[in-house]
């Protein structure tokens, strides 16, 4: 396909990164602290309290029906102790995702709120899928899924002008919109997401999930079984989000589901499994709404 699309280069990406909305330092610091299993509730509480808005958001989220705690939490130290570090990490990334993604992403035809809705729904779905498949770290599944489409923040500026070319390429190749982006624009939104994740020092497994969420079988890095499973969970959550119609842009269902990868990693996706997963995830809509209300 011949296209007149303006291609992205490493230099132009560096410039684009400077245009991204700024992330509060406290959130970046917290995300790094939460990678350390030895960090204490006191240490985390002290950092969170540096940002009163973040403190209020996290307390509101901790006391929401999503966690269904038996009593009210009144301090972040208490929240860390009761919810645990992994749940708190999921909360921090959900708040970061809201700050970054709750905006209009015109190139993909996403109104304000659509990308955030897709991010949050996919994260809740990833957590549910992890539980259904007995994956031990369901909060980690939420965390790595919630920023999977962050690369669209940059790429949407380039996608809008050549959308029809991208659509035609995706339909012709049947390799998906993500691959069409890479071929016509030089980078896909998954690859740009990886660049952003590295710039902000996201955890490695989150960067893998962002980079390979549309085609996990492309991953060549050797990782632990947990990470392979995590990638499958995020990929499946993303596909089911599209199938259930959440946060859809003009790119719609122009993506593929990687059945070879999923079935090689124990997900056993046949028609019955897929239908049952859809029903289980449909039943999570209340959780998505509750969490959304508590974070907004």
């Amino acid at each position: 396909m011949v296209s007149t699309a303006k291609k992205l280069t490493l230099e132009s990406i560096t410039e684009e990164l400077t245009k991204l909305p700024s992330v509060p330092d406290v959130i970046l610091k917290l995300s790094q602290m939460l990678e350390n299993p030895d960090v204490t509730a006191d240490e985390l509480g002290q950092v969170i309290q540096l940002d009163p808005q973040l403190t209020a958001q996290m307390l509101r989220a901790s006391n929401s029906a999503y966690y269904a705690l038996p009593r009210e939490i009144s301090s972040m130290k208490e929240a860390v102790a009761i919810l645990g570090q992994k749940a708190l990490k999921a909360q921090v990334y959900a708040i970061l995702s809201h700050k970054m993604l709750n905006r209009q992403i015109a190139g993909y035809g996403l109104a304000k709120g659509d990308l955030w809705n897709s991010a949050l729904t996919g994260a809740v779905y990833a957590k549910k899928i992890a539980t259904l498949y007995d994956f031990k770290e369901s909060d980690t599944a939420f965390t790595v899924a919630v920023l999977r489409d962050i690369g669209k923040l940059i790429l949407h500026e380039y996608v809008g002008d050549v959308f029809k070319d991208l659509e035609a390429q995706a339909l012709e190749s049947k390799q998906g919109f993500d691959e069409a982006e890479r071929q016509l624009l030089g980078f896909s939104h998954s690859e740009l997401g990886e660049v952003i994740g590295k710039k902000w020092n996201f955890p490695e497994r989150m960067i893998y999930a962002i980079r390979y969420h549309h085609k996990p079988s492309d991953m060549k890095e050797k990782v632990s079984d947990d990470v392979y499973q995590l990638l499958g969970i995020v990929h499946l959550a993303d596909a089911l989000c599209m199938m259930l119609g959440h946060g859809m842009g003009n790119d719609g269902l122009l993506y593929a589901i990687d059945l070879d990868y999923l079935n090689a990693h124990g997900f056993n996706i046949d028609a019955n499994t897929l239908q049952e997963l859809m029903l289980h995830l449909h039943a999570c809509q209340g959780e998505v709404k509750t969490l959304n209300e508590s974070i907004k």
Partner: protein
């Protein structure tokens, strides 16, 4: 493959149509509603593999909309997935075409609809691509939804006036009970008036 029939390109964008309506009820996936009130307007958004089915009696001016998720309820009796937490299938009845459509029709008959005067419209049923998958294509849920809807409606003696199904893009639709007008917009595309 997109299945579409003759239609009129609307002068209005779907957003303009929505602005002109004072009240509208959004039908979410796994739900259906029916009404005989002329001021009722139904709206459905981001229909992908699911299927929106509209029924309208052109004489009695009663109508309804169902947004189904899955083709048939039979698989729940033969499920082999082995997830530890079983589904409470009673909570999902309106998700299935074979259950939701007869229920919607029962409601409409209660409001005075007759099969001779009722026309149906199918919207949605799109699909993802697949990489691999030697075990058949479990993702053809959109196409199966449309097939099951057709056979279920035929069994009930209802005719299909128009279909806008297939493809890879989400669709939004508005159904106005006052005059039976239906507007459909494929995301990012033009708005068409199909009835």
């Amino acid at each position: 493959m997109i299945q579409t029939q003759s239609h009129t390109t609307s002068n209005l964008d779907l957003a303009d149509v929505l602005k002109q309506i004072s009240s509208i009820e959004e039908i979410e996936i796994g739900d259906f509603q029916a009404s005989s009130m002329s001021k009722t307007n139904y709206y459905v958004k981001n229909v992908t593999t699911g299927l929106c089915v509209i029924m309208y009696d052109t004489h009695a001016h009663v109508g309804g909309m169902a947004y189904i998720m899955l083709p048939d309820s039979e698989f729940q009796q033969t499920q082999t997935t082995g997830f530890k937490k079983p589904l409470d299938d009673t909570a999902f009845k309106a998700c299935y075409a074979d259950i939701a459509l007869p229920k919607l029709w029962e409601h409409l008959q209660g409001l005075g609809a007759s099969s001779e005067n009722t026309q149906c419209v199918l919207i949605g049923g799109s699909q993802l691509f697949t990489f691999g998958g030697g075990r058949g294509n479990p993702l053809n849920i959109g196409a199966r939804n449309a097939i099951t809807a057709r056979t279920t409606l035929a069994r009930m003696g209802l005719s299909i006036k128009h279909t806008e199904v297939g493809g890879n893009r989400p669709r939004n639709a508005v159904f106005m009970l006052a005059d039976g007008r239906i507007f459909v917009q494929m995301k990012g595309g033009e708005t068409i008036q199909i009835m």
